[in-house]
């Protein structure tokens, strides 16, 4: 087995609630590190499978997109690790195997990488776009590779025009949980909302690549990141008290992604959220739970979060890390009204993403008042949370009259690429330095331990539920 990354969970919150208070917010930071070893090296013998899907619809032949895609796919194949099972698929009205021949994966080696590069060089553009059918082929290719890190790269330049939305949705339902998919939209004729839907369902990310010449570097980075994944099918298990309501769980770093609807019951008081595969990286989640209020002075475990990896070879699942979200009721307003800095930061980033998406949507629909208001709000929020990239992208869509109040004017001329870039990147967040929000030192129990010891008795995530006595 490869050396597993060390996982840690950290919880940032203000645990104090006023009398009768119910809603607890916390930022859960999950960090996976491999010590000094580089991520790709550390993953050297992790079982992995990669399918590269290149859009070869007719429109790819314009603006040098097809040539750029050939170079990008070749570069991606070139950095596949020895032993990784892979395939290259061309997508049009129907998907077509480019390498190898026949619906199967082959093991990466110097020879197969060379053959794959040769096959990619012969890619030609013709036909339409039916992404659901491409994903279904990838799903068939991955079949039987349980326990492996299964990852697909999807490149498209257009809308999913040659199958219905229902066909795409059905394909996503089928593939979801089977493999991960990162996507790139090249040019400006693809649909941001569509790639967001696809990659969100397949636990991946997407980016816009307006200029085809940037595609090669982007594919290299994306494939290297995929090769760095070491642990597949990680889940976040959240225990909550009886009568509590888990209001939401959002991924906040690296991107905003609302995971609330992804939960699957895993025990009497636990639900699991799939988090996909992990290499050396960290991600942050915003958790909100509503609990039954306790008496002043009482403490409650409002949520118990655990990172779960499936068992290998029929073994039991493993708890990689865990953390507590606490609640303590106090009549000291100075404590209960304080807002944790990281909770505030991520609340701002979440609202920022919403404001941008709603503002751009209103702008497309010709509702200038709403667009001005929402994008103005976005300008204020981008400044508050220190997201300079988004602030810069907003500047290309609106003229800022007053940054502090969010007074803006919509620009008359906005390039399609700038608008798509702002929309695409609205969910890309910035990290904050760890806040110094002080937790009163007088109550040691209120400081969430970074990694509390597992009680040896309770199987993970299945606290005893019977009501005794």
């Amino acid at each position: 087995m490869s050396e597993r990354p060390e996982f840690t969970i950290r919880v940032d919150q203000n645990p104090y609630l006023p009398a009768g208070g119910r809603e607890m917010h916390a930022i859960v930071t999950v960090e996976a590190g491999t010590g000094e070893a580089g991520s790709a090296e550390a993953a050297a013998d992790a079982d992995a499978a990669e399918v590269i899907i290149i859009d070869t619809s007719g429109s790819m032949s314009y603006s040098g997109k097809m040539a750029a895609a050939r170079r990008a796919a070749k570069a991606a194949v070139g950095v596949l690790r020895d032993g990784v099972r892979f395939a290259v698929v061309a997508g049009a009205n129907r998907p077509r195997m480019i390498y190898p021949q026949g619906e199967r994966l082959v093991e990466a080696s110097a020879a197969t990488r060379r053959s794959a590069a040769d096959a990619v060089a012969r890619l030609d553009a013709a036909g339409g776009t039916a992404i659901g059918s491409w994903l279904r082929l990838a799903d068939r290719l991955f079949e039987g590779r349980d326990g492996a890190v299964k990852h697909a790269i999807l490149l498209t330049d257009g809308k999913n025009q040659h199958e219905s939305d229902e066909e795409l949705d059905a394909a996503l339902r089928q593939c979801s949980g089977h493999f991960l998919c990162d996507a790139r939209g090249v040019g400006t004729d693809w649909e941001v909302a569509e790639l967001r839907k696809i990659t969100s369902a397949l636990l991946g990310g997407f980016l816009d690549v307006p200029d085809p010449k940037d595609l090669e570097a982007d594919f290299l980075a994306m494939t290297r990141a995929a090769m760095g994944k070491q642990v597949a099918d990680v889940a976040l298990r959240v225990w909550t008290p009886q009568h509590a309501e888990l209001r939401f769980l959002k991924q906040m770093v690296p991107t905003v992604d609302d995971l609330t609807g992804r939960r699957a019951e895993s025990g009497a008081q636990t639900v699991d959220y799939p988090l996909g595969a992990w290499g050396s990286e960290n991600r942050e989640y915003h958790l909100c739970v509503a609990v039954e209020p306790g008496d002043i002075g009482r403490q409650m475990r409002a949520a118990w979060v655990k990172l779960i990896a499936p068992g290998t070879g029929g073994g039991a699942e493993r708890v990689l890390a865990s953390g507590n979200v606490l609640a303590e009721w106090t009549d000291d307003e100075a404590r209960s009204t304080r807002i944790n800095g990281r909770v505030a930061h991520h609340t701002g980033q979440s609202e920022l993403a919403d404001a941008i998406q709603e503002g751009l949507e209103a702008r497309r629909e010709g509702d200038e008042d709403t667009a001005t208001a929402r994008l103005g709000r976005a300008v204020v929020l981008a400044r508050e949370v220190g997201n300079e990239q988004i602030a810069g992208l907003l500047d290309k869509v609106v003229d800022v009259v007053d940054q502090a109040t969010g007074t803006v004017r919509l620009k008359a001329e906005v390039s399609k690429a700038d608008e798509m870039s702002l929309d695409t990147r609205s969910v890309r967040t910035v990290r904050t330095a760890r806040t110094r929000t002080p937790t009163p030192p007088t109550t040691p129990g209120a400081t969430p331990p970074a990694k509390p010891a597992e009680p040896p008795s309770a199987p993970p995530g299945t606290p005893p539920d019977e009501a005794g006595s």
Binding site: P241, H243, Q299, M300, N324, S457, D465
Partner: protein, 321 residues
């Protein structure tokens, strides 16, 4: 049902030996003290206290336990237990729940009083006189606590009950104010050594109510004397006697006697079950059985129990069992 897991939860319960949640009753309290069902943290280690004396390297002579009970989060009882040259002394104080700061009052009173008893009796003072001084000094310590908070807002200042026992030189001396009690428990005969300063006792004494009616009255537990800044100048009650056989001196808060007022019943719990039943020896075993009985009876209030053996083990004799 899931008996195995319950047993595990208890075994790993750390300070939570009885891992039933005090809030929802589930047998699911985890090692870090939170209930696995309702999530509430169970009262922590500083709410439960145990102490025992050691004679010749072995636990003997006396032991005390204070527990928050099953219904209260905080323990406003306090006790102190100390070895004397030829015996031991104990103090139990019960903070008055309606007065803020009473938990600190009970702790200050118990610590102060036991310090005075140790000093005075060690210096050869008469136990009666030492007890009077101990109560006086404890009262001063409680009054001093209200320095910052009494007066402001006109609310009640910190207050607590008091009961002490000095077991030394073949004699038992008790002093008290309020409704914490001392008992003599033995196989031959058992009886209370104190009379409560409470509405119920006074009403019966004045012939205004029968004992049963007084106990049922909602004023039954109203204190008529206590330690505290606004308590006025109460003189502690004193009583002394010389047992003519072996037994146990029990001092306790009302969390024990509310549900088990009868001295003979307390004796049978403290002295242990029927022959052959596995039981823990010594004063700590007796104290544990008494606390367990109070919890089994509902644990409505804080429970504090101190037990002192009579006669004290004689260090000049061979240290048999």
């Amino acid at each position: 049902m899931n008996r195995d897991r319950s047993a595990d939860a208890r075994a790993h319960g750390g300070g939570h030996g009885e891992a039933a949640c005090r809030d929802c009753g589930s047998w699911a309290v985890t090692a870090d003290g939170f209930c696995g069902a309702c999530g509430l943290r169970q009262p922590g280690g500083d709410e439960h206290a145990e102490a025992q004396l050691v004679v010749d390297g072995r636990p003997a002579l006396g032991a005390g336990i204070s527990d928050p009970g099953l219904r209260r989060v905080h323990n406003e009882d306090a006790f102190a237990l100390a070895a004397l040259p030829r015996g031991a002394c104990a103090v139990v104080c019960d903070g008055v729940a309606t007065a803020p700061g009473s938990r600190e009052a009970a702790r200050a009173a118990a610590q102060t009083a036991s310090g005075v008893l140790l000093d005075r009796i060690g210096a050869g003072a008469d136990p009666d006189e030492a007890t009077r001084q101990a109560v006086r000094r404890a009262g001063e310590a409680v009054a001093a606590l209200s320095g910052g908070m009494g007066g402001a807002g006109g609310g009640p200042g910190p207050a607590c009950t008091f009961v002490s026992a000095v077991v030394a030189a073949g004699r038992v001396t008790v002093g008290w104010l309020g409704d914490s009690r001392a008992y003599w428990l033995s196989a031959a005969d058992s009886y209370p050594l104190t009379t409560d300063d409470s509405w119920a006792v006074q009403a019966v004494a004045r012939g205004e109510a029968t004992a049963a009616a007084a106990r049922a009255d909602r004023r039954a537990h109203m204190l008529t004397a206590w330690l505290g800044a606004d308590a006025g100048a109460f003189d502690a009650h004193l009583a002394a006697f010389e047992p003519d056989g072996p037994g146990l001196v029990l001092v306790c808060s009302d969390g024990l006697w509310n549900d088990l007022p009868d001295a003979a019943a307390l004796a049978s719990v403290a002295l242990g079950g029927p022959d052959g039943e596995a039981r823990e020896d010594g004063p700590l075993g007796a104290a544990r059985r008494l606390v367990r009985a109070a919890l089994d009876a509902g644990g409505h209030d804080n429970v504090t129990v101190v037990v002192i053996e009579f006669p004290p083990p004689d260090p000049t004799r061979e240290p048999g069992r």
